[in-house]
Symmetry: C2
Subunit: 702 residues, 2 copies
């Protein structure tokens, strides 16, 4: 039944030999690898404006004048980075992701740092792209506003299911949204410029209440400008995708990849500058309630809410979904590389029956969904976490290239090293700026219920119980005492907002904390696998020649259900004993009598159970046998009977299951469960000793 | 660790020999067995008034004049029932619950009907008592109003934990709240009557907005009066408790129990009449927002919000908690009786290590908590479900007694039969009245999310998937098509309240539907146990003399981890084969070579896996072996290795676990997992072949 579900949701399994790749020309490679980068124009301008105005006291009109220069600076940075990455394409024709370039040239730690940064990055790509896509839809259909988080989760779920089925990386899935968006947005910009030059663009009057200017309205500080610049840098996310994908291009691969990269930069730069210019001239400052995007304000102002507007919004949404989808390809590929190098659980290297890395896909979806829920599906709240990882991996990748040129010293290496060195320094500087200005730059976020008094109280109480159960009694009771005091305080001040919540300022610090934690986790996993490999290495003495058994069979009485287990135990051989745990002494004498009649060869051990537990006396007896018979393995053969229907299974077998669970944590004991099937259907079952085929018509002697 | 948790929460296990009962005198028996019945005065008067006014258009002043006559009628009914139950006490000195009396005298079906009614009854006792107790607290401390449901759940949790620990049935736990409440409530009534006779009671003027009288304000119909009478009958819930508990009394048991029953009736009747009289005279009509109880209105009017008021409210709350607790004793006892008679899963007969029926307690708590959540913790919403079960079990119990007198024809049987017959007819008539007037009498309830459009859509979609996965493809797709149409409709009418919900009118019909369903479930379970008993009966041919094995060991390579499994398989004997599933053909040749070197005696079978699954080819091979070797049992010995820390376990053993799960559903295959422990700590482990004690310093030939 589970298998049928899988087929319905994910389709038939695909054979390994179908895994060949289709090679892509530039016109398909562009949508496949550049959609992520290009899609960031949907929110980059807005982020610059929000960084300048939100909570700063800077007037929208002042901010609007800064948006174009800041965008121009980012475009220059983009050009530097793209030039730098062109060199990576030619140096790593098999794909030069930041993890590989940094690991190859700067060593394992740098590689893991880049890897950790990229993993965070991919999760944020999904969360931010989906949130921005939903924002485009909500701008067009404001009635959907209350369902923002639900829509985000729904689209993440759809993307995940599609990727578990195995989306082909090529073709119309990527091309249609990308080219539709390009047509729509260039059309918008063209109309905008026409109106600007013909003097009919107009200017949106800022409404006083929508953009409140505080009393002590400050001017623009250098910090604010740098912070706005950092926010705008999200436009550059996804730039490295082309250099990852070189082998996917049609021959000549490097040349085609390089062309795609330059094309992408030209499109991204022109769109970003165009939108920023129009936003400045038209006065399209963002809505602080996050209910309408700058693109939407601009489009409805320039062309009105006609079909072009809706076409633009829908294609923006689709492009952002496609952008999120690139992370669904990149994240599992990176976790597979890390798992191959034994830095992550090796399950992540398993290729599922649809030829995709299912575990990585599910992990990515869960993390992104968690972020979306925690941040209420608001793009702007997610942005402060985004750029640090991106620029960290840029810097490490470029620095790795510089090191490589110095090491190889090939033809023209000085020029190449200079280009990459310039790239590394530029992105490194931006990294510092981003980390500094975005350190706690996020808006206050309410992470309900973690930051409520009730949340704190639950955490303190839970920590207390966990400590006590782990044996740290003194600390545990101390925590429980604190929790009691907390409860008392709340009881005395009944009016305090038990369920209100305190805000937390997210920002780059979160990423700066998580990256070392990830690296530490990678290295722990690596050390563990190394140790296990050492344990498992074969030696001359590894082979075990054979051993004697002690076999114990827990029995509840004399009935047909235990017969197969007794027969199995006898067939294993060794010292076979049946064990009966006595709860009601009245039945014991009759049982021993019946036992003598039916199974005289197997000794029956009767155990006392003062606390009516079936499991504890049995476990004690196992310990006792283990002490008595030192060299043997103890096999516990548990008789179970299995009924035909699922609901009747719940009516039996609880004690057998309990015993199995208890023995699972006991070292050196082998557990074998002998299932005896009760069935009414004569035709279905083979003639088998593990099956009771018909109700007994003969009554036994009792 | 789990065991430590259990100890902290539930205390040490108690030995069977500590299970003796303490015998109770009348002054303790009264609080223990009568608290449930007495506690219903906390809400009975209020329910009469609400039934008359809520949504009927009857003015509060009109309703108030009816409350005393209705209460008097109920008091008469109470006297009849108590007289009738006195006879049960003398007839069933070992406890005459309705289930036993009905089963003994009217047959199994009547017994099961009474049993089903009582089970529903006990669940409602918990839900209603806790909700009413919280209402008393909320009346005194209105700031708690928004936490009504949370408080109910919290107290249910506390009661459950206390009962899992095993509350002693006797002593101060019951006495203090009961006698405190009696003192407080009689003091209130005394002050009230003093003020009434001295003419200083006053009369509360009904505020127009609190009790809106509709335009077409109807008069009192007979139906309304009967409905109010039905509502007031909740006062009689719990009356049968004393007759259940006869053996708990000190000798002479029957006489003491009878005295307790009459005392209880006198107290209950006098309190109910006293409160109803004062509510009528003072004009204490209930608050339609359910934010203050009638008792609270009365007490603050008569004595003011002083210490007596708070004492009354708190003791009312405590009494109601104690009343809920009686269901915690009765419900598990009844499920135990039903399980002993094989009408419920036999796990319900297990006595936990604290001498309580833990499974029954947990089941009761979950059901009551569900009701509280569904009905928003409002007493009034729960009442329509309550009385049907109570009067059904009254009627069956009394009818059973009549049958018994006719059968036994002992001394003065005609007189006894007349008394019980009169009781049966009276309660039977009331049962009809209750079922008729309360059929859909509940206020409209919003059962979010079941009754939302989204809820319907989810149910339709889920049914579709379930049908397809069960093989009913055509119906499944039909449901999925309906779900798609639903989604489309919602997409077109975006403004429809997707998350709004339609109200459902609860009422006696719910109970009338559930009782036959429960009886059907009882009989299915009974039939199943009978069939299994037949299967398991020993016959002369049941003993299985012994059989040959085929042993399969799935291996992933040649390493120390599989050596114990191979040795174990060899020691079992029979036809032993190792099985390797080939995913990457490159490694196979080397593996076969190494296999020849280390384990030449065991043949190695190599299986192809086109879809990269480890499990499927293995399962196919098992089928193939089963066809080849007809009479054997196939044992699959799975090598697993277990690492020291919990987090490292997640890094291994996934494929072994998957195989185990897949084989769990395969008939006639025995699965044995050989765990090989990797440990760094030399001292901790015995010298055991299932343990790798140190990293290998010697490197094997490879």
């Amino acid at each position: 039944m589970a298998a049928r579900w899988r087929r319905v949701l994910f389709g038939k399994p695909l054979a390994t030999r179908h895994s060949d790749h289709q090679r892509l020309p530039v016109y398909i490679g562009l949508p496949v690898f550049a959609s992520d980068a290009i899609s960031s124009v949907a929110y980059a301008t807005e982020e610059v404006l929000l960084a300048l105005t939100l909570g700063t006291g800077v007037a929208a009109s002042v901010a609007l004048q800064q948006v174009f220069p800041i965008s121009a600076a980012i475009a220059v940075l983009l050009a530097i980075v793209v030039f730098s990455y062109r060199q990576t394409i030619f140096a790593y024709p098999n794909g030069g992701g930041s993890y590989i370039v940094a690991k190859d040239n700067l060593g394992a730690t740098a590689g893991l740092t880049a890897g950790a940064a990229l993993l965070i990055d991919y999760v944020l790509t999904v969360a931010v792209s989906i949130a921005a896509g939903v924002a485009a839809i909500v701008s067009a259909f404001p009635v959907l506003e209350p369902h923002r988080v639900g829509l985000c989760l729904g689209f993440i779920l759809l993307l995940t299911l599609a990727n578990l089925r195995g989306l082909k990386e090529s073709g119309s899935v990527f091309m249609v949204p990308t080219y539709a968006f390009l047509i729509a947005i260039y059309a918008l910009i063209a109309v905008g410029f026409y109106k600007y030059f013909s003097g009919s663009l107009g200017h949106l009057a800022p409404t006083a209440d929508a953009h409140p200017v505080e009393a002590g309205a400050g001017g623009l500080t250098l910090f604010l400008l740098l912070r706005a610049f950092s926010s705008g840098c999200v436009a550059m996310t996804g730039t490295e995708a082309v250099s990852n994908g070189v082998p996917a291009f049609r021959a000549p691969e490097r040349q085609n990849a390089s062309t795609t990269l330059v094309l992408m930069a030209a499109i991204l730069g022109s769109l970003f500058l165009g939108i920023s210019f129009l936003a400045w001239q038209y006065g399209a400052s963002p809505d602080h309630e996050h209910s309408e995007t700058v693109i939407s304000i601009l489009a409805s102002g320039i062309v009105g809410r006609n079909w072009l507007y809706y076409f633009l919004q829908v294609s923006t949404f689709l492009l952002l979904v496609v952008a999120a989808n690139t992370a669904y390809a990149d994240f599992p590929r990176l976790t597979m590389l890390l798992a191959q190098d034994r830095y992550l659980p090796r399950q992540l290297t398993h290729i599922g029956d649809r030829l995709v890395f299912s575990n990585g896909i599910v992990a990515l979806a869960l993390l992104a969904a968690g972020l979306v829920v925690a941040f209420g599906g608001i793009t702007h709240h997610l942005i402060p976490l985004y750029s640090v990882g991106v620029f960290l991996s840029f810097t490490l990748s470029q620095a790795g290239m510089v090191r490589r040129w110095f090491r190889l010293q090939g033809n023209g290496w000085q020029r190449n090293a200079l280009i990459n060195g310039f790239g590394a320094i530029a992105t490194g500087l931006v990294l510092l700026v981003v980390a500094y200005t975005k350190f706690t730059a996020g808006d206050p976020i309410s992470l309900y219920p973690v930051t409520t008094p009730l949340g704190y109280w639950l955490i303190v109480t839970a920590v207390g119980f966990v400590l006590i159960s782990m044996g740290h009694r003194r600390w545990g009771w101390w925590f429980l005492a604190m929790s009691a005091v907390g409860l008392l305080l709340w009881g005395l001040m009944v009016r305090s907002p038990l369920l209100g919540s305190a805000p937390v300022r997210m920002g780059a610090w979160v990423v700066i904390v998580i990256i070392p934690m990830l690296i530490w986790m990678f290295s722990r996993i690596h050390a563990h696998y190394a140790e296990v490999a050492e344990h498992l290495t074969m030696t001359r003495h590894s082979r075990i020649p054979g051993f004697k058994h002690t076999v114990l069979i827990p029995v509840s009485g004399v009935n047909r259900g235990i017969m197969p287990a007794l027969a199995y135990a006898r067939s294993i051989g060794g010292d076979v004993r049946a064990v009966y745990v006595e709860i009601d002494p009245v039945r014991t004498a009759e049982l021993i009598d019946r036992w003598q009649r039916y199974e005289p060869d197997i000794p029956l051990v009767v155990l006392d159970s003062p606390y009516r537990s079936l499991t504890d006396p049995f476990l004690e007896y196992v310990d006792q046998v283990e002490r008595e018979r030192d060299d043997d393995v103890i096999t516990v053969v548990i008789p179970e009977f299995v009924t035909e229907k699922w609901w009747t299974r719940a009516l039996h077998g609880q004690s057998g299951l309990q015993l199995q669970l208890a023995l699972m944590f006991k070292r050196g004991v082998v557990v074998t469960s002998i299932r005896y099937y009760l069935t009414r259907d004569l035709g279905e079952m083979p003639d088998h000793i593990l099956t009771s085929k018909l109700p007994a018509s003969e009554v036994g002697p009792s």
